[in-house]
Structure formats: C-alpha cells, structure tokens
Symmetry: C2
Subunit: 135 residues, 2 copies
C-alpha cells in the first residue's frame, strides 16, 4: 500500500530507518532502535512505539513484555529523510532492558567507558514471565 | 592499534557506529551521523566531532567547510555497545546543511511531514567557498 508520508522516508537497503527515542519531558535520549514500514505505520497510528527487532526479525512492540511502553508525543524526520526522532513518554521510567532509565548509561571518561547510571529494577523481575531480553 | 575503549564498541559490518549529536544546553537532537574507528578516536582526542561520510567515503571534520564545528562535552555508549550519544556545543547554532538549527525540522502532523523550523542562514552563504553540501 502506498502511503505518502511513508514513501517520503528513505528506507535503507534492509527496508529500515534508525529511530532515536527521546523522553519529551527531560530531553534525555532513552534508546535507539530501528523501524520498518509496518512498525512506523503502527507506531504513528496507535501512538505506542513499535520497533523492528533485527535480532528476532519481527515487530517488537516496546513494552509488550516489560510493560514499559513508550507513548509517542511527536515524531520528527531529518533533512535527508532517513532518520526519525520520537518524543516519548516512557512508562515506568525505564527504557533499557538492563533495568536502567536510559540505554546510554556509560560515559567516556579519560579513555574508559564508565557506568554513570544505576539499575532501577532487576531485569529478572522485569522479564520474569519468559526471561527474554527485549523490553 | 588496539585501544581498549575502541575495542569495546560493536562496529557494524561496515566498521561504523551510529552517532546521535545532542546539544548539551538545550537537549535538542541536532543531527545523526556515523563514525568509524579513526573518526571516533579523533573526536574524543581533539574534542571536535569528526564523522565518517558514507557518501564521500572519507573523514568528515564537522564544520571544516561551514565553520560550524561541534565541541564535544561528553560521550555516552549504549547497553549493546553499538550506538553513541555525543553532548555537544554547536558553534554558530546551526547543525544542518540546510541552514537550520537541527536536522530534525519536519514534524509528523496528521499524516504529513510538516516543516516546523526555519532556515537561519542560506546554505549558499554557508558553503560559498566550494558549494559542497556537507557542513
């Protein structure tokens, strides 16, 4: 199906586009993932972030296992039409499968990557149902 | 040369890692680009963002043509070790080669991508020396 706003996106060779999820309220970059056509369409139609899992090769409805959904407040496309920023509201305040707020919890300090954010919830608790790692 | 903090990064099949440049002061996501090993090393050693231009297949020292350099204030690595966020200070307040502040100037509104940020400086002026588009 041809949908004009989807056709404007320059999908990469795998039919994907990189997506940056930024918490609307704090401005913090929470995670980075990929979307295909179906996932972006579902995301903007439902208002809940749906990514494409490259490792599992299937739609990944963020929060379907953890409950930590991302409500989409706004979406932006870049100049080249090949990257998307989502402004989101992070349910539960945890975006990362490690149980941290954001996935970007290691800071470069004098030649080392140093953990600067703590685990808010044990992943074993987050994924107690089936133990898979995607959140 | 083996450098521990570079070896921790999971470079993709092309030897690249995606990089999100976020303005430190405002939290605004300014642009998205790629780095290879050399460009990341130079970036963190000099404190000026250096990307890898996939279209030109060469190092792209951000601002070398436009003067709009990005001073790197902090760098973060994600949980999977395959995405980087840079907190930057954007010289001249313009990151996008279109002359806008940020590359993410089109917002999704009811099924359309609508321009929501204006051109601050004519690209013809920015690139008057040689007319190339990389900033």
């Amino acid at each position: 199906m041809s949908v004009a706003w989807l056709d404007e996106i320059k999908w990469d060779g795998d039919g994907l586009v990189p997506v940056i999820a930024q918490e609307e309220a704090s401005g913090e970059v929470m995670m980075f993932a990929w979307m295909n056509r179906d996932s972006l369409q579902e995301t903007l139609q439902t208002g809940n972030a749906v990514y494409w899992s490259r490792s599992r090769q299937k739609l990944w409805r963020k929060g379907e296992e953890s409950g930590y959904q991302q409500r989409v407040k706004a979406a932006y496309l870049d100049c080249d039409g090949d990257v998307i920023v989502l402004k989101i509201e992070q349910q539960g305040g945890i975006a990362c499968h490690t149980g941290r707020r954001s996935c970007f919890y290691r800071q470069w300090q004098a030649g080392q990557w140093v953990e600067v954010a703590s685990v808010l919830k044990d992943p074993a608790e987050i994924y107690s149902k089936n133990g898979t790692r995607e959140s």
